[in-house]
């Protein structure tokens, strides 16, 4: 009896002490978690992947009705401007058909020249299409969750593209989920080329809608309207994926608007690209076999200028002056 009483007294004392120091213990535990996260990044990454894998079925269940609702709202909005949109698209279509013919002619020419010089092309890129099941967007992160993981062939570091251009890269992969880090994220650093001048640069995000271009050589050559494409340097990224367009140039502060509209992403493609080399086709422009109106371009340029780039000029002098 006495032993039991003693035990109860000690237990109640421990309980009181725990209650008294509960807050301190919890705060210490939180700091401990933060420190462990800082010290052992692999552990945290594994925990993140596990959490994503566990949450992704629930998120997928949430994502579908949300996507339907979002699409309905977008449809309603578009309905209002249907006529103008149609006219704009018709005009753009005519322009793009001209580009298409130019591209086909150049492709043929390119093939012939490659045959002549026995050019060896890099590995072909293949694509894994994924649905976005979660937004990982807050004041500190710009990213998204995909419903494919290692089982679908997705690997760390692969490029993620949309029809418009590069969206980001794979930052974490689970069995059936993956996290994309958008190019706009503050942690994103991307080796790029300025398409017109072939100048190398680094494109960095800062969590805002615009990207910051850090030039490795000189600022002088950059003009508003210049297209920025991936350079493929130093990694598994293919060469020539369009990323964005220069909108403002200043001293040491060149701002780039990404082609991808991150607010409307629903599906993306993950580029499975082996090691290094060249992508044969521009991912933004799957080949089609519809001959268009007779064009008159004379130089090589990316044929599928995204809609948002909106080059008003006819496709005649893409590489010249501006």
């Amino acid at each position: 009896m006495a032993i039991r009483d003693d035990f109860e007294i000690v237990a109640s004392q421990v309980r009181v002490a725990l209650q008294r120091f509960a807050l301190a213990l919890l705060v210490i535990a939180a700091f401990g978690a933060m420190l462990i996260g800082k010290a052992d990044t692999v552990l945290v990454e594994n925990a993140r992947v596990l959490a994503l894998d566990l949450a992704s079925p629930a998120l997928e269940a949430i994502a579908r009705p949300v996507a339907v609702a979002n699409r309905a709202i977008a449809d309603l909005k578009e309905f209002a401007s249907l006529r103008e949109e149609n006219a704009r698209l018709r005009e753009q279509n005519a322009r793009l058909l001209a580009w298409q013919t130019a591209a086909r002619r150049l492709e043929n020419e390119n093939d012939r020249l490659r045959d002549l010089s026995q050019f060896r092309e890099g590995p072909e890129a293949s694509f894994i299409t994924a649905r976005i099941v979660g937004d990982s967007v807050s004041a500190y992160v710009r990213g998204a969750l995909l419903n494919v993981g290692t089982r679908g062939g997705v690997a760390h570091g692969q490029a993620v593209v949309t029809g418009e251009g590069l969206a980001g890269r794979i930052a974490e992969v689970g069995d059936n989920s993956a996290r994309v880090l958008f190019v706009t994220d503050v942690n994103s650093r991307l080796p790029v080329l300025i398409e017109r001048t072939r100048e190398r640069a680094i494109l960095a995000g800062d969590n805002s809608a615009m990207l910051r271009l850090t030039l490795l050589q000189s600022v002088a050559g950059v003009q508003p309207g210049d297209r920025i494409v991936t350079s493929g340097h130093g990694g598994s990224f293919p060469v020539g994926i369009p990323v964005g367009e220069v909108v403002a140039t200043g001293e040491n502060n060149v701002r780039v608007r990404p082609f991808t509209d991150f607010s409307r992403l629903e599906f993306v493609r993950v580029v499975d690209y082996g090691t290094t080399g060249q992508v044969s086709a521009n991912p933004a422009n799957p080949s089609s076999a519809n001959p268009g109106t007779p064009p008159a371009p004379s130089t090589a340029a990316a044929p599928a200028a995204p809609a948002s780039a909106a080059p008003a000029a006819p496709p005649s002098a893409p590489r010249g002056g501006r």
């Binding site: 939180a30 949450a55 937004d135 992160v141 969590n207």
Partner: protein, 195 residues
Amino acid sequence: MRVDGPIAVLDRWGRAALPGVVLLFFVLMTLAPLRAPYLSDALPLLPALTVFQFSLATPERLPGPLLLIAGILLDLLLGGPGAPVGVSGLCFVLIRESVVANRRYLVGVPFLFQWMGFAVLMGGNVLLVWAFTALWTWTAIDPLPALMQYVVVLVIYPLLGPLLARVRARDPLNVPEPARGGARPTHPRPGPPAP
């Protein structure tokens, strides 16, 4: 000893689990791809709002360890590479503790006061997360998006807060619960059985 039928037991369990479940739901919802322009900015702060609101009504149903785990889960799900894991847990625990310590000024007062209390606590929360994230990733993070998030969640609070507060108002059996009203959970005292 209370003599309860199975439905009453179920009801008690349900009410005990509700705050935790709602918190978990909002933690998951932070990742939902809502594309509403301003609303999606505020999503990451909704779990903190839930913690605040339930700490007003039933803090004993949101024990500290649960808050810590929910916060760590939120950080794991939401965080980018290098972001601190555990800072949300810290915030949740501190919010609950501040609310419990200041119940006098927050419970049973006009809604405006509650709102002001929420604004103060949420401001501290946003500041803490921003400071820790900046420190941990060692980058100068633009405070404007965080500020935007803060403003939106302040606007959302009057819409969502009363809804969550109904957990307290709708007490099905209207049994005076000993834990109610006190800052700390107390031991159940023997009382008259439920009608």
